[in-house]
């Protein structure tokens, strides 16, 4: 990803979440408290730090964004009111909204194919999500 693109995504994430990562004092309390910790590759405090540095690509491509339970423990306990869970949600939203991306490729089809599915659904999925 070009630096420019990464920056644009970062701005988008900050805009959606209304989170200011500069408020983080790097205490790690969010990751100390997170019940989904073991399921994540990147943890709440890393989201904050990585978005601040513009390392959004790694976050977008990682499954961690789907592991957050939205329990808001990190939001409740962060001493600086950074609200890491909102940031994680914004990264997830940005990923889902990625425009013009090829979300469905032909070679993904065999793995997903269910003989019960109507033909129509397969065709429609291609028309909606593939380029």
């Amino acid at each position: 990803m070009s630096k420019q693109k990464a920056n644009a995504l970062r701005e988008e994430i900050l805009r959606i979440s209304n989170v200011d990562p500069l408020k983080c004092m790097r205490c790690g309390k969010c990751s100390a408290t997170c019940p989904a910790y073991d399921e994540m590759n990147y943890h709440p405090h890393e989201f904050v730090y990585m978005v601040e540095r513009g390392a959004v690509e790694e976050l977008l491509d990682d499954t961690s964004i789907y592991r957050c339970l939205s329990c808001f423990a990190c939001i409740d306990r962060c001493p600086r009111q950074v609200e890491p869970a909102k940031l994680i949600e914004a990264v997830r939203n940005t990923c889902l909204r990625k425009q013009g991306a090829n979300h469905f490729k032909a070679d993904m089809l065999p793995g997903k194919l269910d003989p019960e599915l109507p033909q129509q659904a397969v065709v429609s999925a291609f028309r909606k999500y593939a380029k």
């Binding site: 408020k23 004092m25 790097r26 205490c27 790690g28 309390k29 969010c30 990751s31 100390a32 408290t33 997170c34 910790y37 073991d38 943890h43 405090h45 423990a73 409740d76 306990r77 001493p79 600086r80 009111q81």
Partner: protein, 665 residues
């Protein structure tokens, strides 16, 4: 004929870079009455002041305007210069073209325009200035210290040693403050009681010091040099001058289940008690909320056992009024309430304690006799987790009422606790969770490193996120930022380094004293760098943690500094008053009393006076009179006076109108 001189200062580039000083001087020269106008690099320098003096003589000036920094900075300097040249010092006006112009404007055009307007206003005012002569008022050579912690005790001792009388007003039954509750003290680990109690005794025995314990300040009148203070002496129900402190009553009282505040509620005391063995004064006190005799008229055991007849169930609160020349505030601090931090399970488990509670658990005179035992089951703990920054360093508007400041003392006392624990109980594993370790004091970082290197305390960078009490263990979930991993520790005790805040009584006290506070309720100093122990209110001084978080070395240093300032004031026989005081025009006064009610200094009285009426009859009218020695020139009366009789010398309505007119021209 007015002959005004205008002097425009460059302040190096402070003013000159965003205000065209030459243009200001030229504009001023065109104003009516101005006979001299010039700019100069540094008006406050000796050469700048000489320029003023010489011009006053050469041009025979009748008024001077200096366009420079805020009058708070240099009004006095320029008044002295004007006065040295034979002009009345109050025929000077300062136009603030630095703080109000150059420092806030980026555009030189805007800055210059505003500077010219402010200069015009100052010229319009100085034309109406009248020469004023400052009176003097006498200084009462006694001081009041409010709060008897180490700060108050040290300040009182230093003032008393200089030969002046001091009263200490302490709201609790004994002096000593928080330091009396501590075990050992960093950085040298001497026992707190061993170094504090000699000072408490010295204060009690000093011929110049009087301790008014169990008392509160409830009214303050007057001003620097002559304060009148009303002090409430709460009923002790024990005669202070009769009680010998033998303590028999405290053993016989049947009301045994009163939470002992000295041990932070971790054990119990009787309804009649002496806070601790070395209390000063060592006099018992009855807690009226728990005494059966005072509540229901039944019991009377203490009166029966007291061999000297010191008990007095009929005692009442009493009030005394005293005169002082100076007042020192030394009301200290309290740990914050941490009930909102339920992630640390403080209210769920007795084994989660605050650091001050831990101090008592380590203290030989504490609830466990100095043995480290878990409050829940009295067993020896093997794993202890310390959490730093609980409630400190939070964002503004923290929903849990956390504090945005660093409480400053916690890193050091946590290192102390960890070290002492490892020293006494080497079989105990000790973890300290920190965000940053802050140890900028003499010998402080060495102290912290000793805890880690010699005592094997596990310092982990990261916070504790949750503590769950489960089957007698505390499951601590934390994060290790350096290893990048979440940790689970099964602990026997958790110690919370709780943020500190000013005493809750500080805010109402500040109102009584008209002393200013910051948004956290710490008293503000007159200047953060150059006047750190004085309040902006003249005659009020600050000592100890009431001004900001402080450890004992800093507290004692500040206490001595406050004492030096007090002594400097009390050494004077009289002080020069501010001549810009209110005065009333008797012809206009209708005797309504509004000014008297609004005056915070009690400077206004009413007299009946005879007036000759137009028909030559005599009428007696009630009119207000200002005591000029008492008036501080706040101007509140001039605002409430409905008939325009009250005016402030040096800031008369006429002068202010002239300024406004000049600005709007």
């Amino acid at each position: 004929m007015h002959r005004i001189g205008v002097f425009v200062c460059h302040c190096g580039t402070n003013i000159a870079s965003t205000v065209d000083v030459k243009a200001v001087a030229e504009a001023a020269a065109k104003e009516p009455g101005v006979v001299f106008s010039a700019d100069y690099q540094y008006m406050c320098s000796e050469a700048g002041q000489n320029l003023i003096k010489d011009t006053i003589k050469e041009k025979n000036l009748t008024g001077v305007v200096v366009c420079s920094c805020s009058p708070r900075m240099h009004e006095n300097t320029f008044r002295k210069a004007v006065s040295a040249a034979g002009l009345n010092p109050y025929l000077l006006e300062v136009a603030n073209i630095r703080e109000q112009c150059s420092w806030i404007h980026k555009d030189i055009k805007d800055g210059t325009e505003k500077a010219i307007v402010l200069t015009r206003a100052a010229i319009a005012k100085v034309v109406l200035n009248a020469p004023l002569v400052a009176g003097t008022s006498p200084v009462t050579k006694r001081a009041l210290v409010i709060g008897g912690g180490i700060a108050g005790i040290q300040t009182a001792l230093d003032i008393a040693d200089a030969g002046f009388e001091v009263d200490i007003v302490e709201k609790r039954p004994t002096i000593g403050g928080k330091m009396a509750q501590l075990d050992k003290t960093f950085p040298t680990l001497d026992c707190a009681a061993c170094i504090l109690t000699p000072k408490m005794v010295e204060a009690a025995q000093h011929e110049k010091i009087r301790i008014l314990s169990y008392s509160e300040v409830c009214g303050v009148k007057g001003f620097v040099g002559s304060f009148k203070v009303k002090i409430k002496r709460k009923a002790r129900f024990v005669k202070e001058d009769v009680c010998t402190g033998c303590g028999l009553c405290t053993e016989k009282c049947p009301m045994k289940r009163v939470p002992n505040e000295f041990n932070l509620g971790m054990d119990e005391r009787r309804a009649i008690y002496i806070p601790f063995a070395q209390a000063v004064p060592k006099v018992a006190v009855i807690d009226p909320d728990h005494c059966n005799m005072l509540k229901n008229g039944k019991c009377g055991v203490c009166a029966k056992v007291c061999s000297v007849g010191a008990i007095d169930y009929k005692a009442q609160d009493s009030f005394v009024e005293e005169d002082y020349g100076a007042i020192v505030v030394a009301t200290g601090f309290e740990p914050i309430n941490i009930d909102a931090y339920d992630e640390f399970a403080y209210s769920q488990s007795k084994d989660v304690v605050t650091s001050l509670e831990y101090e008592r658990l380590m203290n030989a005179a504490g609830p466990t006799g100095g043995k480290l035992l878990r409050p829940s089951d009295g067993k020896h703990p093997h794993t202890i987790v310390f959490v730093q920054c609980v409630g400190s360093r939070e964002s503004d508007g923290s929903p849990k009422c956390g504090k945005s400041y660093c409480s400053k003392i916690c890193c050091m006392y946590t290192a102390k606790h960890a070290m002492l624990t490892r020293e006494k109980y080497p079989d105990t594993e000790v973890y300290v969770f920190y965000i940053d370790v802050r140890t900028p004091g003499k010998g402080f970082d060495e102290f912290y490193r000793r805890a880690a290197e010699q005592y094997g305390v596990h310092y982990v960078k990261g916070m504790v996120g949750k503590v769950v009490p489960e089957n007698g263990v505390l499951k601590v979930r934390a994060f290790d930022l350096i290893a990048g991993e979440q940790l689970q520790i099964n602990a026997d005790m958790v110690v919370l380094a709780t943020a500190i805040e000013p005493d809750k009584t500080a805010r109402p006290l500040a109102t009584l004293l008209t002393a200013s506070m910051d948004t956290n309720d710490f008293f503000t100093e007159a200047h953060p760098k150059l006047r750190p122990v004085e309040s902006p209110t003249a005659g009020i001084f600050l000592s100890g943690a009431c001004q900001g978080p402080k450890d004992i070395p800093e507290t004692v240093a500040q206490a001595g500094a406050a004492a030096a300032k007090v002594v400097g004031l009390l050494a004077k026989d009289s002080i020069v008053c501010n001549p810009c005081v209110a005065h009333s025009d008797e012809k206009l006064c209708n005797g309504c009393s509004r000014c008297e009610r609004v005056c915070p200094y009690g400077a206004i009285t009413y007299v009946d006076k005879e007036f000759k009426m137009p028909d030559r009859s005599i009428k007696i009218r009630r009119v207000s009179q200002v005591n000029e020695a008492v008036c501080q020139g706040c101007g509140a009366c001039t605002v409430v006076c409905p008939s325009g009789a009250m005016d402030l010398k040096g800031f008369s309505t006429e002068q202010l109108r002239a300024e406004v007119d000049a600005i709007c021209k």
